[in-house]
Symmetry: C3
Subunit: 152 residues, 3 copies
């Protein structure tokens, strides 16, 4: 019961308050046992490698994933309903010289693996962006699989 | 019968002629009741905030969504078969100083909600791009759910 | 039996050794008969139109698709299990003046069509990126459909 949130507490992490979407979209949308989770940007602002270093950016990716989990919980009620993380897409707002996008997005992926184990391992696209909404350093979205027993 | 197209007419909008893909891809591809709709770029060209203002860009996002709907209709025959809009991805060709990508992509999302109501609300990723095909201001793709009764 | 690999041989192409993911993600992740294939970057480095010409970039897109197929084969055992290519997403690391992203990503799409015929035709998003991991010219990911008989 609330196994994932208990793990977060064990890790010393707190699920943030779910932030409502900033514009005309939903936090998540479900079809069958697939849940599409809308992109969220990190609280951390600034271009990675120019204004923000790689370690700060990796932490920002972890924090943005906490925001994705918070909105997902708000929508489905319990993070334990997620049976598999399928695909994560991460954009890094980066100076042209920066090329270590995968290592930054690992901040999000490592959190998912710590929480969901093998089921938390996922396919991924980590890429660069010249600019992100609100000047954020990181933007993440994902597709997850939900338990069939919860949704038939 | 053609409820969605009747709504478009009521809104004073016209579904454009479906534009054939510009290269070696399909307009849409179906798997079960999921339909993947290829990206389309707006007729509107130019970088948002540098050459195109935010209001023009939002209108360009609406018009690009009309193009997505036109090609979807050409492929599935009737837009009423769409039971849910799952995920929209929008790229805004923007100057580095521009940060209001979500407000621009709302042009597409608001059209979907006007047409499909609650089912038209969707997960979304709105992000920046340094350049888009043909110098377009907006690029949109989406994943939608089709009626199971039409496709078994 | 291994029809797709035989076709590759007929085309004079060789499936490369599957490259393990460079960071904390899987090469592919399956849900039902959907397989999400992680993004791979091309061996070819450099900005298209500045350091790499369009023809080289198109070839790099084909080669990156060979890498996607190699990692897919490593995960599912046999490329013949793919029943349909659903969606390809391609990023082109390009100078701001470059606008022919679709023609570059055709290098990947044409390979899929040569191998899988009509089933290889797919929905697609081809777009620009200011920078890609490791300074690569091309980044590709995809979603494919697998044979239900293999996965129930």
């Amino acid at each position: 019961m609330n196994r994932i949130e208990a793990l977060l507490t064990d890790m010393g992490l707190v699920l943030p308050s779910p932030k409502p979407p900033v514009a005309n979209y939903l936090g998540t949308k479900r079809s069958g046992n697939l849940l599409f989770v809308s992109a969220r940007v990190s609280e951390q602002r600034g271009k990675v490698s120019a204004e923000v270093n790689q370690e700060q950016a990796k932490l920002a990716a972890r924090d943005a994933m906490l925001d994705l989990l918070a909105i997902t919980k708000a929508d489905i009620g319990n993070l334990d309903k997620i049976t598999s993380i399928l695909k994560v897409q991460g954009f890094v707002n980066s100076a042209e010289s920066f090329k270590a996008h995968p290592q930054v997005i690992d901040g999000a992926s490592e959190l998912l693996i710590a929480l969901y184990g093998e089921s938390g391992r996922h396919a991924r696209t980590a890429t660069g962006a010249a600019q992100l909404p609100y000047g954020a350093s990181i933007q993440l979205d994902m597709v997850v699989e939900l338990s069939l027993s919860d949704y038939g």
